[in-house]
Symmetry: C2
Subunit: 332 residues, 2 copies
DNA sequence: TTGTAAGCGTTATCAA
DNA sequence: TTGATAACGCTTACAA
C-alpha cells in the first residue's frame, strides 16, 4: 500500500505537507503543491480513510437496517435513502433484520461496533421502551416506521391511521359495505399493523359501520399470507366486497387469492393497498393504494442523522410524512 | 471512548492481555480472563474496528454496486448477497449505479477510495475492455451479469442464452408461432440484453422458425417499456401469440400492456419472463419464467472475493449459474 | 511556508 | 502466561 510517507519521500517534502495538499488546506506554496500532486499521480496514492477515521472518530458511513431489501417496499425505501445519503456525502451499509426483534437489536449493536456515523432503523418489532430509553447513548439513531417511541428518539413516520382510514372510506364511497382487513401478525401494541388496523376501524366508524371480527384476518406481511387470508375468508363462508390490505405486497397476494377463487377485482371485490410500491401501477388490475411521500421520508431521515452528528444534545424530533390516496383500477 | 488501555488499567493487566481476551486467543489464564471480562462489562468497552482494520489493512466491508435496489431483481440479489457476505463475516456497503457506465466506473473508484475489501459489481453497461484490462490492480472485483469480460476478471454469470432459448422453445411447445421478443436497449455488443436476444433467436431457429424483425421490440428494462412495447406492436398491426420478455419486470409491463388492449394471457398471448422475482408467482396470471439459482450466484461471488483476498495472484475464474424453467399460468 | 513529534486504538513480535 | 515496544497511516499541535 502506498502511504503518505511514500508520496512525501518521492516529492521530497514531509508527510504533513502531503496531508495538507490532500486535504486542500491552505498554506502550501504552489510549486510544492504541484510537486506533491505529481508524486501522488506517479505512485497512485490513495488516502486511507480508515486511518483518518481513527483520528476523526467518523466513518462517513451510515447504517441502514431494514427487514430485507428483497421486499419491494424496502428496496424502494433503501434506494431513496442511499440517494439521500449520497447527497450529504454519506455512504450506506445495509443490514437486514428479517423483521425480528433480535435482528433489529443486532443491527444497532453492529452499527455501534462498526463505528458507523449513525443508523436508520426501520423498526418493525423492536420495542424501544424495553431497551431502557436512551441505552444507546448519543449514537445517532433515526427510527423509521411506527412504534411507540415516546419523545425519546428521532423518528420519521407516516400517516398510518389517516392513510388507512382514507383507504377504507374510499372503499365505502365506492359502495363496499362488507370490507375485510387483511392485516399483519398482531393487533396488540403500537406498530404499523395495529395503527393501520386502527385506521380501518375508524374509517368504518365514520360511516356507522360496525367492525365484524370475521372480516379481520390476521396474516403476515408477505404475499403468501395475503393469498391465504382470502382463501380462509372464503372457506369460512364470510362474504366480503372490499379488502383493505396492510401493504401493497399483501394486496398482491390478496388479488392473487381472489383470482384463485374466480372472484373478479374490482367487480366482485375491491382492493386497496398501502405503500405504492413500483409494481402497484402495473398490476392487472392496477392497485389503488395509499402513497406516503417516501422521498421526503428518506431525506428527512438522513437530515436528522446529520443534525444529531453536528449537535448530539439537540432534542429528538418527530416527523410524519404526508400521503396521497391513489385511486386505480382495483377499486374502480 | 473507552479503549483497551482503560480496560487494562481497570483489570490491572496489560493492553495486550485485554486484546488476547477480546479476540478469544489462547494463552490467557482463567482468572485473568475473568478479571478482564468483568472490567469490560464494567466500563462498557467496545472494540474499535477501525483501529483493528488499520492494522490488518482490511475493512471487513465489501461493496455491492447494482443499478438500483428499488428494482425487484436487484433487491432480491442484494438481499442474498448481504446474507452470503454475512456468512463470511463481511458487511456490505451499497452503491447504486443507475445502470449507467459512469455510475459503474464511479462505484469502482469509490470502493477503492473507501478501501473496501472488494467489490461485487453488477455490470450492465460497463465495458471492461475499455478500462484497459487490469487497470484496477489487484483490487478484488467480481463481475456479475453478462459482458465480454475476457478471461481477465472473476465473473459469475448465468445461462442467459440457454435460459432464453429454453423459454422460447417452451412457448413453441405450447403452440406459439408468432413470438415477440420484448428486449432491452440494444442488441449490439455483449450484455444481458444481447445474450438473451440471442437465446430467443436460437430457440426459434431450433424449430425452423425465422426471426421476424417486426416482432423484436427494443425497449428498456422497466415495466413501462414493456407495456409500451406491447402497445407499439399492436398499433403497428403486428400479430403475435407469445412474448419472450427480457426480464420479469419487463414481463409485468407486457402483461399490463396486454390487459390495456383487452388481450388475454395466456389465451391470446403467452408470456415468459426471466429472473423469477418474488412477485412472479403471485401475479394473475402467474408468470412463467427462467429462474437462475440466485443464492448460488451470491455465494459464489462472495467466495471469489474472499479467495482473491487470500491470494491476489490466483487466476480469474468464471462461473455460470444453473437455471430452471418454471412453467406457470402465463403459458398454460 | 514547512517540518517534527506525539498520538489515535489496535495487534505482532519478542522478551520476561 | 504476561507484558513492553513498535508499528499501522493519518492528523493535531507546535516548532523551525
Amino acid at each position: 500500500m502506498v502511504t503518505m510517507s511514500d508520496v512525501a519521500r518521492l516529492a521530497g517534502v514531509s508527510k504533513m505537507t502531503v496531508s495538507n495538499v490532500v486535504n486542500n488546506r491552505p498554506g502550501v506554496s504552489d510549486p510544492v503543491r504541484r510537486r506533491v500532486l505529481e508524486a501522488i499521480q506517479e505512485c497512485g496514492y490513495r488516502l486511507n480513510v480508515n486511518a483518518r477515521t481513527l483520528k476523526a472518530g467518523r466513518t462517513g458511513v451510515i447504517g441502514l437496517a431494514v427487514p430485507g431489501v428483497d421486499q419491494s417496499y424496502y428496496g424502494m425505501l433503501g434506494s431513496l435513502l442511499i440517494e439521500a445519503a449520497k447527497e450529504r456525502g454519506f455512504h450506506v451499509a445495509i443490514e437486514q433484520t428479517g423483521a425480528a426483534a433480535e435482528g433489529e437489536e443486532a443491527a444497532i449493536a453492529q452499527s455501534h461496533k462498526l463505528q458507523l456515523d449513525g443508523l436508520i432503523l426501520s423498526a418493525v418489532v423492536l420495542d424501544p421502551r424495553e431497551q431502557g430509553g436512551t441505552a444507546w447513548g448519543d449514537f445517532p439513531i433515526v427510527m423509521l416506521g411506527e412504534r411507540d417511541f415516546g419523545a425519546s428518539i428521532d423518528h420519521v413516520g407516516m400517516a398510518n391511521e389517516a392513510g388507512t382510514k382514507a383507504a377504507t372510506e374510499h372503499l365505502i364511497a365506492r359502495g363496499c359495505r362488507r370490507i375485510a382487513n387483511v392485516t399483519g401478525w398482531s393487533l396488540e401494541g403500537v406498530h404499523v399493523v395495529s395503527r393501520r388496523h386502527r385506521g380501518y376501524v375508524e374509517g368504518l366508524a365514520a360511516h356507522g359501520i360496525e367492525v365484524d371480527p370475521a372480516l379481520v384476518s390476521l396474516s403476515g406481511m408477505h404475499m403468501e399470507r395475503g393469498r391465504k387470508a382470502v382463501h380462509d375468508l372464503h372457506a369460512a363462508g364470510t362474504a366480503f366486497d372490499g379488502v383493505v390490505a396492510v401493504t401493497d405486497t399483501v394486496a398482491i397476494g390478496v388479488m392473487r387469492g381472489l383470482a384463485d377463487l374466480g372472484l373478479r377485482c374490482p367487480e366482485d371485490v375491491r382492493v386497496v393497498g398501502f405503500d405504492d410500491i413500483p409494481e402497484a401501477a402495473y398490476l392487472a388490475p392496477s392497485l389503488t393504494t395509499v402513497a406516503p411521500d417516501h422521498r421526503w421520508m428518506a431525506e428527512k431521515a438522513v437530515e436528522l442523522i446529520a443534525a444529531r452528528l453536528d449537535d448530539p444534545t439537540r432534542p429528538p424530533e418527530e416527523h410524519i410524512a404526508p400521503f396521497t390516496l391513489i385511486p386505480r383500477e382495483s377499486t374502480r
